[in-house]
Each structure stands twice: as structure tokens, then as C-alpha cells.
Subunit: 405 residues, 2 copies
Amino acid sequence: MHFTINKNYTKLQGSYLFAAIGKKIARFQEENPDVEIIRLGIGDVTQPIAPAILTAMHKAVDEMGHAETFRGYAPEQGYEFLRDVIAEKDFRERGCDISADEIFISDGAKCDSGNLQEILGPGNTIAVCDPVYPVYVDANVMAGRTGSFDMATGKFGGVVYMPCLEGNGFLPELPAERADIIYLCFPNNPTGEAITKAELQKWVDHANQNGSLIIFDAAYEAYIREEGIPHSIYECEGARTCAIEMRSFSKKAGFTGVRLGFSVIPKELRADGESLNALWLRRQGTKYNGTPYIVQRAGEAVYSEEGSVQVAAQIDRYMENAALIRNGLIDAGYQAFGGVNSPYIWMKTPHGMPSWEFFDFLLTHAGVVGTPGAGFGPSGEGYFRLTAFGTYENSIKALEKIRKI
Amino acid sequence: MHFTINKNYTKLQGSYLFAAIGKKIARFQEENPDVEIIRLGIGDVTQPIAPAILTAMHKAVDEMGHAETFRGYAPEQGYEFLRDVIAEKDFRERGCDISADEIFISDGAKCDSGNLQEILGPGNTIAVCDPVYPVYVDANVMAGRTGSFDMATGKFGGVVYMPCLEGNGFLPELPAERADIIYLCFPNNPTGEAITKAELQKWVDHANQNGSLIIFDAAYEAYIREEGIPHSIYECEGARTCAIEMRSFSKKAGFTGVRLGFSVIPKELRADGESLNALWLRRQGTKYNGTPYIVQRAGEAVYSEEGSVQVAAQIDRYMENAALIRNGLIDAGYQAFGGVNSPYIWMKTPHGMPSWEFFDFLLTHAGVVGTPGAGFGPSGEGYFRLTAFGTYENSIKALEKIRKI
């Protein structure tokens, strides 16, 4: 007799995509210490935290140093001061009927992406875009909702993959085969393409008609530039009965190392007679212990008059990079998508080169790091993701190096 | 057809213990706005963060404000600067052979308590002390490792409960019925009692002989005052092949609102041919995105020359409260345990009064909040937990009010 492991873990393929890339870079740098590497891969930001946010954090640190203002355990759902301003600024000002008690503060959308499935039954089927942010699939693999990985197709058994290719404008089509849980991310990671409100409405209607749950990842909402692109799924009619939305401060305010995000679970969202809002509250109450006070005050400052101007300016700078990279690639004869309402540029590899091969090729010949499309799913093969999160100087430099190859 | 919920959640009883207490207090305060309430319940600290730690946090905030020193995504396992100092100070200086790559930084021991079970098979049986910190059991209920709750016994089916009562000095006896996963917490929450190294060695031997995994919660390690009490399970021979240890900065340095902890998973720990260290690395890489940089720098400062002196002084003050409460209760004719190597005092309710009744009684007649023993399991009935985390003044005041009843 011996205790056992969760054998679903053995179905996972290789290590987590970005960990694998990190190792490849480290090895290359060790072997080529003189080569300057420009990282447009993992999607980490480079601009420092905005001044108004720093001021708020210093103030919060000071508060922690005095007994009168010290804060211990935070409410597991998050402080009201932060949930209130989010409900107002991110939702009600956009005409979305979301209240503060439908918002759950967390340490990031990646964690919520991984954890939200816990409150759902093991027998639910899932549908994902292909290519896709790996966490949605891997978290469900770990939970046992998938079959084994098929090397021939690059897919896990039992998962509905919705191809997003040039032919359909990188927008998934409504699945012929019904799925219980549908993961959508718009503006999309990795393709960088956005969805119109009319198109997203079709998904909401589909979910309501089919008893499906949409888990909507709006981590890149702040990068939307065009009219008619929904910032929240709750802009669509009926979303309150079929959708959870996840948000992140990582790309909105450069919080990749500060750690803040939230999920929205409307009260109407129910299954088996139970409220998903209540289930998640219970999950967080039991297995989470609140987001740091200092970090929640930092989040509040993002919405302040000064803070919102400062983070908007940061996003503008990243979007300059996005335009630069996208247009530069197109000028150089590559096919490139995205980058208009998102910080990601999705380029076709030249001459149909496999994407991991292109990764090595680009690293070796240009010192530029991107993310191989195949790492996001079988339909990502032949594509490559570049991010706008570098500095302007590095974005120019990377482009020049790519052109010279 | 409709998506379904995780039905294991419906087995859970009431809301999370401390959330339930919070609601009771809020209602009482609303009805009695003039009564001063002294909270010796939830175990939240009251002393502010120590100066050396504040300095480190301010410095880290400043670093986040400059592109040259800005930190984005942290390594999922935690920064080396923190893992190195932990390995050295908490383990190697105590003769425990633990290396930095066996340490996983997290946002707290509660989260790790809840999440660690994910890497283990669904069929594992669990054994817990009774009374017990509710998270160990509830996380396993959610994961489907238990049967239903039996109202008559106050127990979940399929769980081995190990009674800790006055008769056995509040120390569990080796279970007659083998369990795959054994949760132990010493110094104990809620009883406040510690275990000797010789006694803990018996558990390590038992686990190795029976192929069991011990999940050892050492969150209160910093409160150990007596010789012969192990600070880490790795002081015991053979623990590297059978034990995971969880640690917290919440009580060690007042980080309940700062959020920092870690788990130790030795490389020798294996099941089904897989390394638990590698499985947890994969879990954290997929579903966690690192602990905030600022918080990890705060953690590092806890081990600095200045920081360690300052947090030791804080703990001394809490332990003065512990002695005051324990001795005061005994002087007043109550039976009280714990409080010597831990911040918790475990008192017997007078005249065998049910513990939730005593909670209401104490709140109404003395304005003092404690935690009903029954909230920790059936063997907690007839007991009541008080914490030493209040101020000295409030501890004295609470004692006076209890005496006057």
C-alpha cells in the first residue's frame, strides 16, 4: 500500500510553454554570452509601475507600519474599496449591470484561469480555441476532464478544439458538437485578433440555448482601440446567465510582478440549482486567503484620475510598438495579424517553417525571442507570436534584425 | 443538457468557520453598537509590520518604479534570494538537509493547505487530528476524497479522525486504520499543544513503513519556546521520503495581510515513480504566477539581522499574552491548555457547555470573541480557542471580563 499521485498529470505534455522557452533562452545565452537577446516572447511588460500607483503603494506600506492603520487578513473576496471602483469604472460606466458583490479579487487571471474549473463537475466537456492560452487546457487535463494526448493530432481526447485560422479571420465558429464549458479570450491571446459585439452576442446566445458556460478572458481589454469591440462580455444581452469574466492588471497597469486580477460571477449564473457566485465564494473562503492589502491599494490607484492617465499613456506606448512591429513585418514581406486591438502580433512563419524551428532560427540569427505558435495548439503551427511589451528601442532593433535575416 | 457543478461542494457544512464567526460578530455589533468587542477569535495579528521589513518593502516599491530595476513575472517557485535564505536559516542551521530547489514560495500556508492535495490521487484516504484546522478536510471534501457528512457524528465518511483530547495530552495516536495522507500540525492549531521530537519520529517511521504521506503544517514554529520540540519535521530521520512541510509568515512576522508562505517538498518524495517536487513545480507553473516581488523582499527582510530581532520581539510580546491568558484562566478556575509553545490557548468550556453556546455567552456577557471548539471537529466540542494575538491591554481586559461573568 502506498499513497498515489494524480495520474492526470502524466498526460501533460512537456513543461509549461514559457518555462520551456525560458530554458532554451538560458542555454543559448550561456553558449553565446556576447549576443544581445531581445525578448518579445513571454509577454512580460517592461515599463515600470506608474507614479500614482507607487505613491499608493508607499502609503499602504506605511499604513502597515502602524497599529492603528495595520491591516491583517483581508476579506477573501477582496476589499470593498477596490470592488466598488471596479464595478463602477469597468462595468457600470460601460453600461454593464455588475455589482461589487459579483467581483472576486485575486492574485491574477492565470490563477483564476486555472482554479475556476474546480467548482464545476468532473464530467463537463470543454471547448477551446485553437491556438489557445495553454492554462485553460492544462488545468482541465489536471482535473481529469480530458483523455490522453494524441501525438498525431496534437490534441487531448475529449476536448473540442475550435480552429482559428486565416480563413475564418482567427475567429472560432460555433461548435457543431455541444460543449459544457467554452473558453473564449478576446482580444485574443495568442492571435491578437478581437471580436465584434455582434459576433460575441452569437456566443452568448449559443451558450444560453445550449446550457453552456462561457469563461471569458478579457485580460487584454485595455488594448482595445476600435469602436464596436466589446470590453466586457456583459455588454452582450443575456451574458449574466451564461458567462464568467476574468480580468487582469498585468497588462492593463504593468502588474505582472505585482499580482492582481479579478473574476466576475453574476448572481444569475446557476447550475444544478446552485449559485456559481456562492460556490466560488466558498472556494475562495476555503482555499485562498485574500490578495495583499498593498496590492489592492495599488489596484485602486489604477482607477484614480492620475493613475488612469498614466496607465493609458503606457498602453499607448505599447500600441506604438504593436503598430511598428505589425507594419514592419508586413513591409518586410511577412504576413502579420493582430496588433490593432491587442499587444500581440501573430505572424506566419516564412515558407511554412515549423514554429519551433522558426523559434530557434530567429534566436540564432537575430537574437530575437518570440513564442512558437505550436505551443498554443495544433492550429498554431506555422505561426509565431511577437509581443509589443518590449521597449520602443528594442522593438525597432528586433525588426531590423528580422529584416536582415 | 446543461453544464454541472462540482457536487462535492454540496457536502460541505455551513460556511467556512471564520466567515461564520465574522457574520455573528457583525450582527451582534450592529445590535449592540456601544459594546466594545475584544477579538481573540480568528487568530489575526495586531502588531504592525516591523521597521526593517517596511524599509525593504519601500525599497522594493521604488525598484518597481524604474525600468532598470522593475521586476515583472517572478519565477513561479519564488526568487532565489528568498529560497536561499530560507534553506539556510530555517533548515540547514537547524541541521535539516533542505536545499533551495526544494522550497516553493507561495502566498500563504492556507492556500498551500488547500492546493497541495491536487497533485495526489483521488482515491487516497486521509487522516486528520480531531479537532483540526478546517481547510485540510474541506479541501479534500471539495476534491471528492470523502463521503457525506454525518450529522450524528459530526464527521465526513471515509476520513480517519484522530481524537486529540485531555486524556492523550492532545496528541493523536498512530491510526489503527492505515491512511494514505496524514495531516499533522505542530505546534497545534487549535489546541496549542506541541509534539516532542521523539513523538514526531514515531509518525515519520509509521509513514515510511506504511507508504503514507505526512503533510506537516509548521505555521506556528516561531512560537516554540521549549527544548526538545522540533521546529521542522526534517529534524526527524527519514522525513525526506515521507513528508511535505508547510510554513507561514503570517504568525512569524505578522504577514496575515501581506501574504507569504512556503512549502518544502524533498526530492526523495515519490509515488507511482513520480517526484512530488516535480509535480508541484508543474502545478505551480500552470496554475500560479508567482508571489509579488515586494512581498518576497519583505520575506527576505524577516531573516535580516535587524528584521529577525524585531520579529522575535513581537513574538515575545504575543507569548506574554499567551502566558497571561493561560495562567489567568487557570487562576479563575478554568481548565486551559496550550499557550506555552504556541499562541493558542485551548480552554474547557464551563460545566460542559456546548462550544457555540459558550461563544454566544462570552460575546454577550463579556464582549469577548473566541472560536468554538466544535468548529474544528467533533472532539473540539466542549472546548474553546483563545488567541494571544490581541494587544496586551486587550488581553488583560478580556481576562477581567471573563473573570467577572
